[in-house]
Symmetry: C2
């Protein structure tokens, strides 16, 4: 924990007497309206990670964005719905003014060595140093990530002339660099620009409504990833009747699959 890093400040929670935590949105991770969804996800994840009864490390995590999060204070209520010998199932609610703004579920588990062999290899990619860094900015949370696009950067011109495929691939890490952990990896799973922007080259109003992360990295593998870049990719699947989804993967710079992620976004037209 590095108190000076904006991520640590943003996910910091204070434990209350009733098992709840309180926190506060961070201007450093502000989006166009309200906070970056990835930081809301990381705050929900952190309520589980900081819980004194937590067993093991995160394996699966789903966060549902139920309402716009307002700038200011929030309450997180994590609850262990079921604790087994080596696994634990969590239900989390984030509240503002007594109203639910996000729900989440998480599975934590004591992971043990087994046979393994990832089937989704890291795509060939130029090393990060050889890929130009995105400098087009203007939104706070984008300043918190160093992004170097290999494929599928957002359109230069919002001229309605999109692409038939929405695959994006980028090197990404916290800015300033910060050793990777489960909370920051959850946040990184939401860095992908909305796939529909690539498909349509048009800025329709939209927002993520649900995101799932499967953690393939153990704590030791996260430590090995350190402050290196992650190769992150995402591709849209279904788009219609106001909702679309994407599937994504994130690898360490050395090629370890760290997480797979999926999300569904609402869009207006």
């Amino acid at each position: 924990m590095n108190a000076a890093h904006p991520f640590d400040a943003a996910v910091a929670l204070q434990a209350g007497a009733d098992g709840a935590f309180t926190g506060r949105t961070s201007p450093a991770y502000a989006n166009f309206i309200g906070p970056y969804g990835g930081i809301t996800a990381a705050q929900c994840m952190n309520a589980v990670l900081q819980h004194p009864e937590r067993l093991g490390d995160p394996v699966a995590f789903t966060v549902n964005f139920a309402a716009a999060v307002a700038d200011g204070d929030f309450v997180l209520r994590p609850r262990a719905a079921r604790t087994n010998r080596s696994t634990q199932h969590w239900v989390v609610e984030m509240l503002q003014g007594g109203e639910v703004v996000a729900t989440a579920t998480a599975l934590t588990a004591v992971r043990r060595p087994t046979w393994g062999g990832h089937e989704m290899p890291m795509p060939e990619a130029l090393p990060p140093a050889g890929v130009p860094r995105v400098t087009r900015r203007g939104v706070a949370w984008l300043e918190r990530y160093e992004m170097r696009f290999l494929l599928g950067m957002i359109p230069r011109d919002w001229d309605g002339d999109g692409t038939p495929e929405s695959l994006s691939r980028l090197w990404v890490r916290d800015d300033p660099p910060r050793p990777l952990d489960f909370a920051s990896l959850a946040a990184l799973c939401d860095v992908f620009f909305p796939r529909i922007w690539l498909r349509r080259a048009r800025q329709t109003p939209l927002g993520t409504v649900s995101m799932t992360v499967y953690f393939h990295a153990t704590a030791a593998e996260l430590a090995a990833a350190g402050t290196g870049h992650l190769l992150a990719q995402a591709r849209g699947q279904g788009f219609g009747s106001g909702y679309f989804d994407h599937a994504g993967q994130l690898w360490s710079e050395s090629g370890d699959l760290l997480a797979t992620t999926h999300q569904v976004m609402y869009y207006k037209e």
Copy 2:
């Protein structure tokens, strides 16, 4: 609702005075031990679908299998954590003997016509009638599905000689055929044999711990799919330290993307 169909009998719930529902596991969907996970998922989904306050149709659904479901009665507690103008966020718990055996979250929404264009086209496939039906059986729930494999059937011999890729592709529908609905589609999202069986050709103990479904089909598109076959495919992503995941898609016989799905399974060695 066709009272004679085993699926309808299996997902039937009785509303209680306290907002909870009661149901009972169905021998027709029994797995090796306890019920088929897909039917547990469908029961959780149905608790939302049958709730008198439900708004709209399912868009996103995550179910977490927290403990083995015992044969017998269960209680389902669906709760609308947040209701907006056109969306609603649900938290569901399934209990047996007062203990949580599954948790779920669901987003339901009133879907409206928008621009659309699925990016994940249905793979080329021989029509169902030209693909042999699987006859190898012995487990009740397998009898509830007509399966015709195009690719990635489970190994004939458990000789430890697996395949480097775990892509499976099959035509599948309820047996006897039944008009598709949200609950049966949720159940169908769990028909995939464990990907690790293909990779290892070895029956390690395992079980699904979390599954997410994104519904791309509207109610009208489900009605159009009717009793036809679905083309379903799934492919493993990460395998290690006791857990692996897969990503899957299901299309109607006419090529509409109906749902995308992901799950993570525990495995023992």
